[in-house]
């Protein structure tokens, strides 16, 4: 008797459980029905209105001094709240976990650092929850973010390639350094190669992974110099490539003999240009990422520009789909204007 009751209960639970199963959505990118484009709007601005930036490696100077500083400044000007959340290490699952826990609180908008294609799903969760969501820095291919704002990395690579060809007169051995496998870096490498490989006298040695680490970049560069005494130029693609490369070039007394182009324009980079170690920088307009990104979130929520009686209902996203901020080119001729 007891057993049959237990069995009955078991099956009841099993059936209840199965019927309560809720399968995940079948595809991520494409299903764009009207339902999923609805977003939350508001008629009035309140000081409690909160815009949340979710990033990773939250205390990285590049992020703190540019992205986060501009975002905070914008929030003060607009009289709204700016929150910055995320793990202190480069830890994508932790960024996702943070993101997921903030969604239920329905902030006014999300400004998401596009660190990894793996965050697409949680971006879609936020979009499905009706929260205006802008991705900055790197685009996330599988995500349905309302907008992306960032640099064009292919362009940044192309610019470096063109400058390299110019200063080397179209001949010599060149190499590139950055984080291998990252979508934006790979686009940059491609831009660089598309230009340089048009010149048969330019020999490409290879792509090297410095994992965004100064010591590693310097070590790789030192090895490269030993292995290739006739190395003519190196292009860097992450924030620490330039300083690392420059260190080894200085130590090998090859300053000026090996040409260096790289990305980013931190004070360290600028000083190296002034000293003549680095020849050319492609800076990013990072402040624009977050300042304009946040403004777009604000505009979306407050219907600054409306294309219909009710954009949220009509399935119109009233902000640009994609903004490319463009690059800043720096060399010895204009470097003084950037040094504070």
């Amino acid at each position: 008797m007891m057993n049959s009751i237990k069995a009955l209960l078991f099956y009841l639970f099993l059936i209840a459980g199965l019927s309560a199963c809720e399968a995940p959505p079948r595809t991520d990118g494409a299903n764009k029905n009207l339902e999923s484009t609805r977003f939350i709007t508001s008629d009035s601005v309140s000081p409690d209105e909160e815009y949340v930036m979710i990033t990773t490696a939250i205390n990285m100077p590049l992020y703190v001094n540019h992205d986060q500083a501009a975002f905070k400044k914008w929030a003060t000007k607009m009289g709204v709240k700016a929150s910055i959340l995320g793990p202190s290490e480069w830890d994508i699952p932790a960024q996702i976990a943070t993101f997921e826990q903030v969604i239920p609180q329905k902030p006014a908008g999300f400004l998401i650092n596009g660190t990894d294609p793996g965050i697409a799903q949680v971006i879609n969760k936020a979009v499905d929850a009706g929260i205006p969501t802008v991705v900055y820095d790197s685009d996330i291919p599988g995500g349905r973010q309302h907008s992306f704002i960032g640099s064009d990395w292919y362009e940044m690579g192309r610019l470096q390639g063109e400058r390299m060809v110019k200063i080397l007169n179209g001949k010599g051995k060149v190499a590139v350094m950055g984080i291998l496998g990252m979508t934006n870096m790979e686009a940059g490498f491609k831009g660089f190669l598309d230009v340089t490989q048009k010149y048969p006298a330019m020999e490409f040695i290879g792509k090297y992974d410095d994992k965004a680490n100064v010591e590693l970049a310097a070590k790789i560069m030192a090895d490269l110099i030993v292995a290739n005494p006739d190395l003519a130029g190196v292009a860097g693609f992450d924030i620490n490539s330039g300083p690392g490369i420059a260190l080894s070039v200085k130590e090998a007394n090859k300053k000026g003999k090996i040409k260096i182009t790289t990305v980013d324009a931190e004070p360290e980079h600028l000083q190296l240009v002034k000293d003549g170690v680095i020849d050319y920088l492609v800076g990013q307009k990072r402040e624009l990422f977050t300042q304009m990104g946040a403004q777009m979130l604000f505009d979306m929520r407050h219907k600054t520009i409306a294309f219909s009686k009710n954009d949220a209902k009509a399935g119109v996203v009233p902000i640009p789909k994609k903004i490319i901020t463009g690059s800043i080119e720096i060399d010895k001729s204009n470097v003084d204007l950037f040094i504070k």
Partner: protein, 308 residues
């Protein structure tokens, strides 16, 4: 003392929840928030169950975080680059993780390498393999694979159910099965355990295999729930899990702890993390606060024991 820890930890968690419900009435005590907390601690808890097993027997494993990344990476690699059926991919990922656990256990028990050194080295080796397999990350898994970690049952996402199942099963095993019971004896006095006829080495080997398997399961679930195998998966997980297990009543010298304590420890850390996010406390504070909590928990215990 173990029983005390389960009581005190439960009470602390309850107290935290009550306080937070007053501070954030519309945000904290919601079904949505709690299912999110549970989901986020499920992966850690599954690994913590294995870590608890090891720490009861007086050892620990630093390679679990890397195994989590490896397992998801291997499954993703097979499905994405070789169109392998998702079940086969999971089987491969789990057997791979099990094998890593076996290698750890074999080298520690048969060759005599110190567990900390062995698993520290393995942490690097396996992380390297994981990076090799998943590169900068793999997305676009088959729907069936994502289903495993994303289906919702009674409003809770599946990893939460897996976690409950594993905690319940292992709790039962540790209470009722002689095999698992032996770990307590090994941890409290290894020599006496040997002289009581317990095959200490063999048991430890099995311990590492079980931990490897659990980390492998966690890795599959994590990648399936994220829909992506990330190269940073499981980063710092080993220390987080050891912290949870110690909070849950384990001791570094072994012989102490209950499986349910592993869940409570992870739950406590998950709730603290959630509180910090709700109160918009910046990322690095989380680590500072968790560190302080650990020192407090263990320190207070020591003081109480000394008084006794």
């Amino acid at each position: 003392m173990i029983r005390d820890r389960i009581v005190t930890l439960s009470a602390t968690i309850l107290l935290l929840c009550i306080v937070m419900s007053f501070l954030y009435p519309s945000q904290f005590p919601t079904v949505e928030n709690f299912s999110q907390i549970m989901l986020n601690l499920s992966i850690d808890t599954i690994v913590a169950v294995g870590m608890m097993l090891l720490m009861i027997s007086g050892v620990f494993d630093l390679s679990v975080g890397s195994i989590v990344a490896f397992s998801g990476g291997l499954a993703g690699y097979l499905m994405y680059y070789h169109d392998v059926n998702f079940l086969v991919a999971i089987a491969a990922a789990l057997s791979g993780s099990l094998l890593i656990g076996f290698i750890n256990g074999f080298l520690i028990t048969k060759i005599g390498i110190n567990p900390m050194i062995q698993t520290l080295a393995m942490m690097g080796v396996v992380r390297g393999f994981a990076l090799m397999l998943s590169g900068a990350g793999i997305q676009n898994f088959p729907y069936e694979y994502n289903y495993i970690g994303q289906v919702k049952i009674l409003g809770l996402q599946s990893p939460v159910w897996y976690m409950f199942a594993i905690v319940l099963i292992f709790s039962y095993l540790f209470k009722n099965i002689a095999f698992f019971r032996r770990y307590y004896f090994i941890g409290s006095n290894e020599k006496a355990a040997h002289l009581s006829g317990i095959e200490v080495e063999k048991m430890k080997l099995w311990g590492f295999v079980i931990v490897g398997l659990l980390a492998g399961i966690a890795g599959v679930l994590l990648s399936s729930r994220l829909g992506a195998a990330l190269s940073t998966s499981g980063k710092g997980l080993e220390l987080r899990v050891i912290t949870a297990v110690i909070l849950g009543g384990a001791s570094l010298s072994g012989g102490q702890g209950k499986i349910f304590g592993a869940f409570l420890g992870a739950a406590f850390m998950g709730i603290v993390g959630n509180i910090l996010i709700l109160s918009r406390v910046s990322g690095y504070w989380q680590e500072i606060i968790l560190g302080i909590i650990l020192i407090l928990a263990v320190g207070i215990d020591q003081l109480i024991q000394k008084k006794k």
